[in-house]
């Protein structure tokens, strides 16, 4: 497959020469997906922890809702966000459509249930005897929460990784609400789609390699944090 080897060469060339357009696209990808993930973490971890530690009426239903949300198709989120943000839509006065902010909103919606669902599962798999012990030793509510989060840290980082992986690889929603505007909302996934439809496969392959490298580097850092001091 000459396209793959040419693409790899092209990717190296673009990275080494710091091609301004590709650098811009890459940086924007980190910005958008990083912020999207950050927001989803701020929403997902508290929601997950709340559902894991509290018992109340309707909890079961909410848990199914979160688990259902983990499989939300990005295009559906994209369409809903698009409809909400159009000029004459309910949030049209914000003028956010076809902007990075719109993409961040969509990505945060996609990733939040993933982070919440996996956080919930992680905290629930903390040994219940440990919980009893925490209470018996007189932990305040806040300490109780922190200890639970601490015990579930591996799973929570896995939740963050999964959320990030979900949004950085996503193309449908980004295309719809971002519009793939050059130099503004064009990210690695949407520009790959564009280059394919232009028939420039080498460049598309190169962008794919850059996306894979970027994702790997970020996940590698997160995994390092997760695995630090852990020996099997």
């Amino acid at each position: 497959m000459p396209v793959i080897s040419e693409g790899l060469k092209e990717a190296v060339r673009l990275l080494v020469t710091l091609d301004p357009e590709v650098m811009g696209i890459t940086l924007r990808t980190i910005q958008v997906s990083g912020t999207g993930t950050l927001i989803s973490v701020l929403i997902g971890i508290p929601v997950g922890a709340f559902l894991a530690l509290k018992t109340f009426f309707g909890r079961g239903f909410l848990v199914s809702l979160v688990n259902f949300g983990m499989g939300l198709p990005p295009v559906v989120v994209g369409l809903a966000t698009w409809l909400a943000l159009t000029r004459y839509g309910p949030l049209g006065m914000l003028g956010l459509l076809y902007s990075p902010t719109a993409m961040i909103i969509a990505q945060a919606i996609i990733a939040s249930p993933i982070v919440a669902g996996l956080t919930l599962a992680a905290i629930q798999s903390v040994n219940p005897k440990l919980r009893l012990q925490m209470i018996a030793l007189g932990a305040t509510k806040f300490q109780y929460l922190l200890l639970n989060l601490w015990e579930a840290r591996l799973g929570i980082l896995a939740a963050v990784i999964a959320g990030f992986g979900g949004v950085i690889s996503e193309v449908g929603a980004s295309m719809m609400v971002g519009g793939n505007v050059r130099g503004y909302t064009r990210v690695l996934t949407t520009s790959t789609v564009l280059e394919v439809s232009k028939g420039r496969f080498e460049l598309a392959a190169a962008l794919s390699f850059i996306l894979l490298t970027l994702t790997f580097m970020i996940v590698w850092i997160l995994s390092y944090l997760q695995q630090r001091g852990k020996r099997p």
């Binding site: 993930t37 601490w150 630090r228």
Partner: protein, 280 residues
């Protein structure tokens, strides 16, 4: 102790993620943004990549190009979701002009549609007129790849089927992609199938395609592009000055010269022929 370290690690990773966010997403005044709804061919051929930086440099506007089929582009205009349209389906555009949805309707350029197919030409359409070619394709049940996306090219294609008195919809040899011109041509090449394409996109991608021009030149295959402003009197959120500036830019003699020269160096022939001012 280690709890602190964990918190620190988490903070560090958040920080890492958001460092690059600092350049801020402050939405600079929307007055500087123009939403241009256009057909995929102007983007996939690379024409707008050449024109837009010049326009943006001259005027300071930022053009948000939304490349969709002409049908969807016109629909965006009808809902006031775009400021300016650059499309190629004169019959459909006429309706918008008549209903006052768009104003300042200007002829920009033309090229032509061509029927492409594999060099073996199983249906033997070479040299035939488009209508006869379509009849032959239907008779032989040779695979035909259609845009199927209500784009200008798709509308034109449906018009030819009508003239050929063939109803291809639902036939197994008639496949609709629902995608842009570039993607549709790629599929046609992969399947050794026939397709109707605009010459610009075909030439721009010729190197990747094992497809030849088999039928061309009849007057009904003319592909005419117009630019138009979405009427601010109907949609108050339209960026009227920006749209006006864009229309003026597209018909400006200097821009017209760039359009005429676009692609000459790469493909040996122009992809588009400037027409501004000729009005019909």
């Amino acid at each position: 102790m280690s709890k602190k370290r964990f918190a620190l690690a988490l903070t560090a990773c958040f920080f890492f993620m958001s460092v690059s966010v600092l350049p801020s997403f402050a939405e600079d005044s929307q007055k500087k943004d123009i939403i241009l709804a256009t057909t995929t061919s102007t983007v996939d051929s690379g024409l707008l990549d050449v024109l837009l930086p010049v326009f943006e440099g001259q005027t300071g506007y930022r053009v948000k190009t939304i490349s969709v089929g002409t049908g969807q582009a016109l629909a965006m205009g009808e809902k006031g979701e775009a400021d300016v349209l650059l499309t190629h389906a004169p019959d459909s555009e006429k309706k918008l002009v008549d209903s006052g949805v768009v104003t300042n309707y200007q002829l920009v350029m033309h090229n032509d549609f061509i029927v492409v197919g594999p060099s073996e030409d199983p249906a033997g359409i070479k040299g035939k007129t488009s209508v006869d070619a379509f009849k032959a394709i239907a008779e032989k049940k040779a695979i035909f790849i259609s845009r199927g996306d209500d784009s200008g090219t798709h509308k034109k294609e449906l018009g030819i089927w009508k003239k050929a008195e063939v109803t291809p919809k639902g036939e197994t040899w008639y496949q609709e992609t629902g995608q842009g011109m570039g993607a549709t041509l790629l599929m046609a090449a992969e399947k050794s199938a026939y397709a109707l394409a605009d010459r610009g996109t075909y030439l721009a991608q010729k190197a990747n395609l094992k497809l030849e021009i088999l039928s061309q030149g009849d007057p009904s295959l003319l592909n005419i592009y117009h630019v138009m402003e979405v009427n601010v009197e109907k949609f108050d959120k339209v960026n009227a000055p920006g749209a006006k500036a864009f229309v003026e830019f597209m018909v400006d003699p200097k821009t017209q010269e760039m359009i005429g020269g676009f692609g000459k160096d790469k493909f040996g022939e122009p992809l588009f022929f400037p027409d501004a001012g000729k009005n019909k």
